[in-house]
C-alpha cells in the first residue's frame, strides 16, 4: 500500500502491516454511506424509480446495522436479492441494451455491496466500484454543476478511503476530511495539466445512450400541431456565438434554417424526393448571390441524434464535417450524437437561385390534385383579382391572415381531409406551421413555386457570453417563395398575423399561454418571478456555455492550443511538455507538504501561552510547572465551567499539536487560534 505520510516518518517506528480483514470503525462506516449516496445520487435521476428505492433501502439497512438495530442479511437473502435485481434489470431494460442498463447494474450492485461492508476489504471493493460509477454519471450529465459536484464527491471519496484505513476511531467523524483534503488538493494542478496537455485519443468503440429521449426537436416531416408541441419544451437546441467585431442580426433577421420541405401530400409537408430525371438538378447546390457582407459566427449544437445542422439564413459555405442538401441547407456527415461546435458564415441579404429550370419549377408546384377544393378556389379568385401579379397575390394573402386570424399555441384539431380548407375558412386559429403550410399551398395552387422552411426564429441574447440561445420553443416554420428575377425569397406569414412574435423572443410572446413550456416548469420560474432571477439565470447560462465551449469541447481547441504553445506538435515536444510541468508541479506539492510538516517556529505560540498564563495568574490561577498547557486548560475548564467548551478545545488542540504523531502546521494554527480565543475571553 502506497501511503503518503505527512508527518515525520523518519522518527516513527515502522508500523505493523495493516490488516485488510480488520473491521471498519464506525466513522469509516459513516463515510462509506456518505460516499455511496453522493456517488449514486446523480445517476438515480436518470434511472427507473425502483432502483432508487433499492438503493435507499440498502442505505437504511446498512445504517440500521451500524446502529445495531437490524441484523446483517443472511446469505440466502443476499442471493435472493442478487437474483432479484438481475431479473429487474433484465425486465426494465429488455428493449434496449444501452448504457443505462449497465449504469443501473452498477448502482444496484453497489447497493448490495453496501449491505455487506464489514471489513476493510469490503469497503475497498465498494469504493473502487464507486469511483467507476461516479465516472459513468458523466454519460448522462456534463454540466458545470455536475463537474463541481464530482470534484466534491471525489474529496468525500478520498476521505472515505482514508477513514477505512484508520484502525482507530478518530476524535470526531469529520476528522478524516482533513486528511482527505491533503491528499485531494495536490492532485488538482496535476489534473489541470493533464487536461490541458494530454493528447485526446478517439474512442476505441462508440457507445450509444438511449437516444429516444434526446429527440425533441424538429422532424423530417411537418404536419399541423407538431411545431407547437415543441413550445412545451425549454430544452436547449443550440447556441450561436458572435465575436465582438461582428454585426448582430436584427430580430427580424434571426431565422435559423434547418430543414426545407418540398412535397405536400395533403396533410404533411416532407423533405421530398423528386422524380428520377430531376435528381441531378435537384441535388445541385442552389446558387447564391451575396448582397451584403457575410457575418461569421459559431454554432454550438446540442445533441439531437439527427443529421441536420443550423445556420442563419443563408449560409455561405459548408464546413468540413457537413455537406449541402437541396434547399441550401446543411447536413452533418454523421448523426449529432453529442454536442457539436462549428463555424459558419452567413449572408443576410441575398439572391438565391434566380434561375430555376422549368422542371424544378414544376416540382415546386406539385400538389395533391383533389385536396382542399375551397381554398384552391379562393386562391384562384385572388389570383384573378391581383391580375396574376405574384406580389399583389402575396399581399392579398397576408392581408387575409391579418384580418381575423389568431396566432395560438393551442389550435383546434383539423380534419384529416381538406385540412387547409378547414384552417383557412373555418377555424382560422393556428401556429406557424399552419400559416406556413397554408401559404405554401395557396401559392402553389396559383402557380407560384413555394416551399416550407423549418428551423428556429429569434433567440435570447446573452451579452456576457455574446451568444444567442435557441430553445425548442423558438422552433418556427416559414415559407420561401420563388419570384421571377428575384429567386427564392423568405415569406413569413406569421409576421403578418403576429408581428410581435418575430420582433420579440418566443418566451416573451407566449408567456401568458398556459401550454407554453408546460413540460419545463422550472425554466419558466425565472421569467415571471423577478428581474434578478432572470439576470442570474442568464449569467449561469453564460458560465455554463463557457464550460461547454472551453472544457467539454476543449478537444477541438487542443490542437491549436498545443501548436501555439509548443510551436509544432511532435512526440518529443509532447513528452517534454507533459513531463517538465508535471515534475515542477510535483516538486511544488512536495515542497508545500514539506513546509507544512516542518515545525513552525514556536515563537507566536510561546508568546501567546505566556500571555495567557500571565493573565490568569493575575486572577489567581497559576499554572504548575508539571502541568502541560492541555492539563492546565482542563483544570481551567473546571474553574470556569461556563467556558468549559473553549478550554476543552484548547486542551485538545494543544495535545494534538504538541504530542500527537501526525501533527503539522494546521494543528499549530488550530492551537494558536484556540489560545488566542482563550486570551480574549479570560
Amino acid at each position: 500500500m502506497f501511503k503518503i505520510s505527512l508527518t515525520g516518518s523518519k522518527s516513527q517506528p515502522k508500523s505493523a502491516p495493516v490488516q485488510i480483514l480488520e473491521p471498519l470503525t464506525p466513522t469509516a462506516v459513516i463515510w462509506q454511506l456518505l460516499a455511496f449516496s453522493l456517488v449514486v445520487l446523480p445517476l438515480l435521476w436518470h434511472l427507473p424509480n425502483w432502483i432508487s428505492v433499492v438503493a435507499a433501502l440498502a442505505w437504511f439497512w446498512r445504517w440500521g446495522i451500524s446502529q445495531g438495530r437490524i441484523g446483517r442479511p443472511h446469505w440466502s437473502l443476499r442471493l435472493l436479492l442478487l437474483v432479484g435485481i438481475g431479473l429487474g434489470v433484465l425486465l426494465s431494460f429488455s428493449r434496449s441494451t444501452s448504457l443505462d442498463a449497465f449504469a443501473a447494474l452498477l448502482v444496484l450492485s453497489l447497493s448490495l455491496k453496501l449491505l455487506e461492508i464489514q471489513q476493510r476489504r469490503d469497503a475497498l471493493v465498494l469504493l473502487y466500484v464507486a469511483s467507476f460509477t461516479l465516472a459513468t454519471a458523466f454519460l448522462f450529465e456534463q454540466s458545470l454543476v455536475m463537474g463541481l459536484y464530482s470534484l466534491a464527491v471525489i474529496w468525500v471519496w478520498i476521505t472515505a478511503l482514508v477513514s477505512c484505513w484508520q484502525s482507530e476511531r478518530p476524535s470526531h467523524w469529520t476528522r478524516p476530511m482533513r486528511q482527505g483534503w491533503r491528499l485531494f488538493w495536490p492532485a488538482l494542478p496535476l489534473m489541470l495539466l493533464l487536461f490541458l496537455l494530454f493528447p485526446r485519443i478517439g474512442p476505441l468503440w462508440s457507445v450509444t445512450l438511449n437516444t429516444e429521449r434526446a429527440q425533441t426537436g424538429l422532424s423530417d416531416q411537418m404536419s399541423p400541431g407538431e411545431v407547437s408541441q415543441l413550445t412545451r419544451s425549454a430544452e436547449l437546441a443550440f447556441r450561436a456565438v458572435f465575436a465582438e467585431d461582428q454585426v448582430l442580426p436584427t430580430p427580424s433577421q434571426r431565422y435559423w434554417r434547418a430543414l426545407v420541405y418540398s412535397e405536400f401530400d395533403g396533410r404533411s409537408w416532407t423533405l421530398g424526393t423528386p422524380p428520377a430525371g430531376l435528381r441531378t438538378e435537384w441535388n445541385a447546390l442552389e446558387e447564391m448571390e451575396a448582397l451584403s457582407a457575410p457575418i461569421d459566427y459559431e454554432i454550438m449544437q446540442e445533441r439531437s441524434g439527427r443529421l441536420w445542422m443550423f445556420a442563419l439564413d443563408l449560409p455561405q459555405q459548408a464546413t468540413s464535417e457537413s455537406r449541402w442538401l437541396p434547399g441550401r441547407r446543411l447536413e452533418a456527415l454523421a448523426p449529432i450524437d453529442q454536442r457539436r461546435q462549428y463555424r459558419l458564415s452567413s449572408v443576410l441579404e441575398y439572391r438565391l437561385a434566380p434561375q430555376l429550370s422549368e422542371a424544378l419549377r414544376e416540382y415546386y408546384l406539385r400538389l395533391p390534385p383533389a385536396a382542399n377544393p375551397r381554398s384552391r378556389a379562393l386562391a384562384q379568385g385572388w389570383w384573378q383579382a391581383a391580375e396574376q401579379d405574384p406580389q399583389r397575390f402575396i399581399q392579398t394573402l397576408l392581408d387575409y391572415f391579418n384580418q381575423s386570424f389568431i396566432y395560438t399555441l393551442e389550435p383546434p384539431r383539423l380534419p384529416l381531409n381538406h385540412a387547409v380548407d378547414a384552417f383557412l375558412l373555418e377555424t382560422q386559429r393556428g401556429f406557424c406551421e399552419h400559416y406556413a403550410g397554408a401559404s405554401a399551398w395557396m401559392l402553389r395552387s396559383v402557380g407560384i413555386p413555394a416551399r416550407v422552411v423549418a428551423g428556429y426564429q429569434g433567440g435570447e441574447w446573452n451579452e456576457a457570453g455574446r451568444y444567442f440561445t435557441l430553445r425548442q420553443y423558438d422552433a418556427h416554420a416559414w415559407v420561401e417563395v420563388w419570384l421571377e428575377g428575384e429567386g427564392w425569397r423568405r415569406l413569413d406569414p406569421t409576421a403578418a398575423v403576429a408581428p410581435e412574435r418575430i420582433e420579440q423572443t418566443a418566451d416573451l410572446f407566449f408567456a401568458d399561454e398556459p401550454s407554453f413550456m408546460a413540460d419545463a416548469p422550472l425554466a419558466g420560474l425565472g421569467r415571471g418571478a423577478s428581474r434578478w432571477m432572470f439576470a442570474l439565470q442568464r449569467r449561469y447560462d453564460a458560465v455554463n456555455f463557457q464550460w461547454h465551449r472551453w472544457v467539454l469541447n476543449y478537444h477541438e481547441q487542443q490542437a491549436d492550443f498545443l501548436r501555439d504553445l509548443l510551436g509544432g506538435v511532435t512526440p518529443w515536444r509532447m513528452i517534454l511538455a507533459l513531463l517538465i510541468p508535471a515534475a515542477v508541479l510535483l516538486f511544488a506539492v512536495w515542497l508545500g507538504l514539506y513546509q507544512m510538516r516542518r515545525a513552525p517556529r514556536g515563537d507566536a505560540l510561546e508568546r501567546a501561552q505566556k500571555r495567557l498564563f500571565a493573565k490568569l495568574a493575575r486572577q489567581g490561577q497559576r499554572r504548575e510547572a508539571h502541568e502541560s498547557l492541555a492539563e492546565f486548560a482542563r483544570r481551567m475548564a473546571q474553574v470556569f465551567p461556563e467556558q468549559a467548551p473553549m478550554w476543552q478545545s484548547l486542551a485538545t488542540a494543544d495535545e494534538r499539536w504538541r504530542y500527537a504523531p501526525d501533527a503539522n502546521r494546521l494543528d499549530y494554527k488550530a492551537c494558536l487560534t484556540a489560545l488566542k480565543q482563550c486570551i480574549r475571553r479570560v
Partner: protein, 324 residues
C-alpha cells in the same frame, strides 16, 4: 496463525479486563497493579519491595495467571547457588556425555522471592540472565523463553539477614514498587473473604502469551513527540544538576522512563505520549536508580528510604517545567 492476530481494540480491552481481575485480587492497590502491568507490557522486570505478607507473591501469581504465563517460583535463601537457578550439566555415564538439566529460570514468569536474602554471587547470576535474555553455561548459550518476565520481591534493606542489591543490578529492573498497607476498607473486605492462595489459581486467563507479545510490539510504537522527549531530557538533567541527588539518572534510566511511559499511554488508549504518562510512572522507574544526597535524605540511609525518594520525586515534578 490468523486467529492469533488481534485488533488493537481487542488487545486493549483484554488488558483492561486483566487489570480489573487483578484489582479484584489485590484490593485497593489499583495504582500498584497498573504499574506492575505497565512494567510487564514494556518488557521490563519488576522489583517489589515491601515487608513480608503485603501481597507481593499474590500479585506475582495473579499476574502470571491472567496473562497466561507459565510461572515458576524460587525462594531465595542465603545458601542458594547459581546452579540452583540456571541449571546444571550432569555427566551421564551411560552415554559418556554431559546433559544439561535446565534450572527453574527457564520459564515465562519467574518469581524471585526475597532476592536480597541470597548472596551477591547468586543474585548476579540471575540478573545477568535477565539482562541478556539467555543463559551461558559451559560455553553454550541457551535462550530463555519469550516472553520472559521477572518479578523479584525484596524485604526492606534494614531487615536482618539481607544483602542489598548494588546500584548496577537495581538498574536491571525497569520499576520498583512498594505495595504498602491496605486501606482500612480494603483490608476489612479482604479479611471477610479469607484471602487464600487458592483464589489466584482460579482466575480467568485474559490474554494469551502470544497476544501479550503483540501488545508489547504495539506499545513500542506509541509516539513520543519532540516536546515530550525534551521534557524527559529535562527531567534527567534535573537529577544530574540538582543538589538533592547524590548522583543522577543514567541515559539508560532516561530510556527506561520513556519505555515505561509508552505502555502507560497505551493502557490509557492513546497512541502518543503525554507528560502525564511520564509523571505517573516516574517514581517507580527512577526511584531505585537515583539516590538522595546526604543533606536531602537527612539520615544518610542506603539507596534512599522510600520517604526521601518520594520527596525527591515530588520536588522534581514540581520544578521541571513541562513546557520548557
Amino acid at each position: 496463525m490468523e486467529e492469533d492476530v488481534f485488533t488493537p481494540a481487542q488487545l486493549h480491552g483484554a488488558v483492561r479486563q486483566a487489570l480489573e481481575v487483578l484489582n479484584q485480587v489485590l484490593l485497593g492497590k489499583a495504582e500498584q497493579v497498573e504499574l506492575a502491568v505497565t512494567c510487564l507490557l514494556s518488557r521490563g522486570h519488576l522489583l517489589i519491595e515491601d515487608l513480608p505478607g503485603m501481597g507481593k507473591t499474590t500479585l506475582a501469581h495473579a499476574l502470571a495467571q491472567v496473562f497466561g504465563l507459565q510461572p515458576t517460583r524460587i525462594q531465595f535463601t542465603s545458601d542458594l547457588l547459581p546452579a540452583d537457578i540456571l541449571g546444571v550439566s550432569v555427566f551421564e555415564p551411560g552415554q559418556g556425555t554431559f546433559r544439561f538439566h535446565p534450572g527453574p529460570i527457564f520459564t515465562q514468569l519467574l518469581l524471585a522471592d526475597e532476592i536480597n536474602r541470597t548472596t551477591p554471587k547468586t543474585q548476579s547470576a540471575l540478573l545477568e540472565a535477565m539482562e541478556e535474555g539467555q543463559v551461558s553455561l559451559d560455553g553454550v548459550s541457551r535462550p530463555l523463553p519469550e516472553p520472559f518476565f521477572v518479578i523479584a520481591t525484596q524485604n526492606p534493606t534494614h531487615q536482618l539477614g539481607t544483602f542489598p542489591l548494588p546500584e548496577s543490578q537495581l538498574d536491571r529492573f525497569l520499576m520498583r514498587i512498594t505495595l504498602g498497607y491496605p486501606a482500612a476498607a480494603a483490608e476489612r473486605e479482604m479479611l471477610m473473604r479469607g484471602g487464600t492462595r487458592q483464589e489466584t489459581a482460579n482466575l480467568p486467563v485474559c490474554l494469551s502469551a502470544r497476544a501479550l507479545q503483540q501488545v508489547q510490539k504495539e506499545v513500542e510504537q506509541v509516539h513520543a513527540s519532540a516536546s515530550l522527549v525534551d521534557y524527559v531530557q529535562r527531567l534527567a538533567q534535573f537529577t544530574r544538576d540538582h543538589a538533592s541527588f547524590s548522583y543522577g539518572l543514567s541515559p539508560r534510566g532516561a530510556l527506561a522512563l520513556l519505555r515505561a511511559a509508552r505502555s502507560h499511554a497505551w493502557l490509557q488508549g492513546r497512541k502518543h505520549l503525554l507528560p502525564e504518562d511520564v509523571q505517573q510512572i516516574m517514581t517507580a522507574v527512577i526511584g531505585h536508580r537515583v539516590r538522595a544526597s546526604e543533606e536531602a535524605s537527612g539520615l544518610g540511609s542506603a539507596t534512599g528510604s522510600s520517604l526521601s525518594v518520594a520527596r525527591l520525586m515530588a520536588q522534581m515534578k514540581a520544578q521541571v517545567d513541562v513546557l520548557g
